[in-house]
């Protein structure tokens, strides 16, 4: 069943087209990521699902029911806010039990449910504390428990890991993913971090300028970016200009080539090659990033650290398999 349906949805603020003709269909139980830079319309889409915004055009359905004109408090959709939005004057337990309280669930029952939810996010016995006494990661978990305790049909997450440090973020990514699997709830996740989207989502919608640039599985989006924007934003692929494409026998005017698909050596059989000069390199930990200037086009190469990095200014040949070169739709 379709959990969320956007049919040509727009949300304009005066002359600003925050969301402009978006079509998408999110399946029940899916982990769906909306990826894009800030101002790309991904958060507005999330707010349209939550009901904080109303579309200026198009049609939204949530589990087959029309969503336009339905206030947020009548939707069985819950949100984990970017900065958690925990109520500072309530205890953690009352925060988590809030949704049940406003729905009239009895005191004992909601206390039990809230405690279970806190245990689920690995924060048992934190109920009596105040939000101000918790760390960012703990608040994040409380926000998650507060949303999940309502058993939403769709859980919306607005950059939930943005404020956490790297280690905690990676840990939360895994936990979110396994939580989603075990609960079977549809997760819609907004992020500007392509790594996060790639590692967690079943499908990704890449947003730019209020429109979806590409919608597909992480692998598709990463390996076969449809537009230059997607190639650049997801995975920082190289975009080969028209003249290089022609030389390599590609019919479209642009093609993408991922840095890790390139090696700094002469071509083996069947491989394509280009020659240029090294213009810069930097150490990234797992790999060396070597930038090669090929007739004015800067092509980044991810070279294993075990290999020697050629000096800046020295001539090199780069080669790659023909099927790593992906033609792109637009200019």
């Amino acid at each position: 069943m379709t959990a969320v349906l956007f049919d040509n949805v727009s949300r304009h603020f005066g002359a600003v087209r925050a969301v402009d003709g978006v079509n998408l269909e999110i399946a029940e139980g899916e982990f769906f990521a909306m990826l894009g830079p800030s101002g790309s319309g991904k958060t507005t889409c999330l707010r349209l699902m939550a009901g904080f915004e109303q579309p200026t055009g198009g049609h939204i359905e949530i589990f087959g029911e029309t969503a336009e004109g339905v206030p947020p408090y009548r939707r069985s959709v819950n949100t984990v806010f970017q900065d958690y939005a925990l109520f500072p004057h309530l205890s953690i337990l009352d925060n988590v039990a809030y949704g049940l309280m406003v729905k009239g669930v009895g005191r004992e029952e909601r206390r039990k449910a809230a405690e279970d939810a806190l245990a689920m996010v690995k924060l048992p016995n934190y109920g009596s504390r105040r939000p101000g006494q918790l760390s960012g990661g703990q608040r994040q978990r409380v926000a998650l428990a507060r949303a999940l305790v309502n058993k939403p049909k769709v859980l919306l997450l607005d950059e939930p890991l943005g404020a956490l440090d790297l280690k905690l973020r990676e840990q939360m990514q895994e936990e979110l993913k396994s939580l989603q699997k075990s609960l079977g709830i549809t997760f819609v996740f907004v992020t500007h971090d392509q790594g996060e989207a790639l590692s967690m989502a079943d499908r990704i919608a890449v947003f730019n300028d209020g429109r979806i640039q590409q919608l597909g599985s992480p692998e598709e989006v990463y390996k076969q970016p449809k537009t230059r924007f997607v190639a650049d934003f997801v995975g920082s692929s190289n975009v080969l200009p028209a003249r290089l494409c022609q030389r390599l026998g590609v019919t479209s005017s642009y093609a993408s080539l991922r840095p890790e698909a390139i090696v700094l050596s002469a071509p083996r059989d069947g491989a394509l090659s280009l020659s240029g000069t090294v213009s810069a390199h930097s150490f990234l930990g797992a790999v060396n990033r070597v930038v090669v200037d090929v007739e004015g086009a800067r092509i980044a190469v991810a070279s294993p650290v075990s290999l020697v990095v050629p000096k800046v200014g020295s001539p090199v040949t780069i080669s790659f398999a023909a099927d790593e070169l992906h033609p792109m739709e637009d200019a």
Partner: protein, 316 residues
């Protein structure tokens, strides 16, 4: 070492002001002392000190015969304070202060809410102007203006007449306690003018408190299923409560101490402020006047203690 420091320092920083800045930078507590000493002396000695001296007066008594103050510790003045007439004055003033505070909060909240949540740009400027403007003109002028507005021949009566609602006004004025010959000589009139004059002191703290409530808390409540009424009750109101309490401290204490409004507009019955004025002036009974001023202090203390116990400051 010195030579290095001299070279590090740009030449225009080497003068006496530069050296003074260096001194304060190295000794921040000296700067703090210099800055805080005058206001602390003012507050501690002149303000609190004189208040304390005043309170002390209330434990003296007046010699009924000679009219001189008897500088001996006694509770006689407090016994006098609790006489029926004086208790009547206290009860009247406290009731008025409570009703004025409640009405101010009810009227101020929507205005403050609009200003904090919706008003932007020039509307915000207009809001501040509208709230502050009445404070720029003389208090006495405003009160005398209200006397005319509320008088039997005034614009309020005229307005009710034009709307053919004079019977309603007359019915209200014929009620006991709140009524009177005209609005300007009734408690209703006193109440209206109090609410008008103190309104800015209620609006501004509530607006400040509401402005500090992040929008996403309102959204979170709605997202979790809270209807607008529930969101108001469980989120907005508790978070605005410190502002409401701050505003009510102003309206409550200002009403408790005012002696001009009830004298110009209202019945001839005394309020605490008028009693203090009369006792320390014509009657020359400074101890009783002092005892009267203790009443608002005690009431405000009790009020704040209750507000704290009710959790009004939890959101601070």
């Amino acid at each position: 070492m010195t030579a290095v420091a001299e070279n590090l320092m740009s030449p225009e920083r080497r003068g006496p002001t530069g050296r003074l800045s260096d001194f304060f930078w190295k000794h921040p507590h000296v700067l703090l002392t210099v800055l805080l000493a005058p206001p602390l002396l003012w507050l501690g000695v002149v303000y609190i000190g004189s208040l304390f001296a005043l309170l002390l007066q209330s434990f003296f008594s007046i010699d009924d015969f000679s009219g001189l103050i008897n500088y001996e510790f006694t509770f006689a003045t407090y016994r006098q304070l609790l006489s029926e007439t004086n208790l009547d004055i206290i009860l009247r003033t406290v009731s008025m202060a409570a009703i004025v505070t409640l009405a101010s909060a009810l009227i101020a909240f929507p205005i403050a809410y609009y200003a904090a949540r919706y008003a932007q740009g020039k509307w915000k400027v207009l809001f501040y102007l509208g709230v502050m403007l009445p404070l720029w003109s003389s208090y006495l002028v405003k009160i005398y203006a209200w006397k005319l507005i509320l008088a039997k021949e005034g614009i309020v009566t005229w307005f009710f007449e034009k709307l053919h609602l004079l019977w309603l006004l007359d019915a209200w004025l014929s009620l006991p306690v709140v009524g009177g010959n005209s609005l300007s000589v009734s408690y209703t009139g006193t109440f209206i003018v109090f609410v008008y004059v103190w309104m800015p002191f209620m609006i501004l703290p509530i607006q400040a408190a509401l402005e500090r409530v992040p929008t996403n808390l309102i959204e979170a409540s709605s997202d979790l299923g809270g209807t607008p009424a529930q969101t108001f009750r469980h989120v907005l109101f508790p978070l605005a409560l410190p502002g409401i309490v701050a505003g009510s401290i102003f309206t409550f204490s200002l009403t408790l101490g005012d002696y001009i409004i009830p004298q110009i507009i209202g019945s001839s019955r005394l309020f605490i402020g008028q009693a203090v004025y009369a006792q320390q002036g014509t009657a020359g009974n400074i101890p009783l006047a002092a005892a009267f001023t203790v009443v608002p202090i005690v009431i405000m203390g009790a009020y704040l203690w209750m507000a704290k116990r009710m959790g009004a400051f939890d959101a601070l």
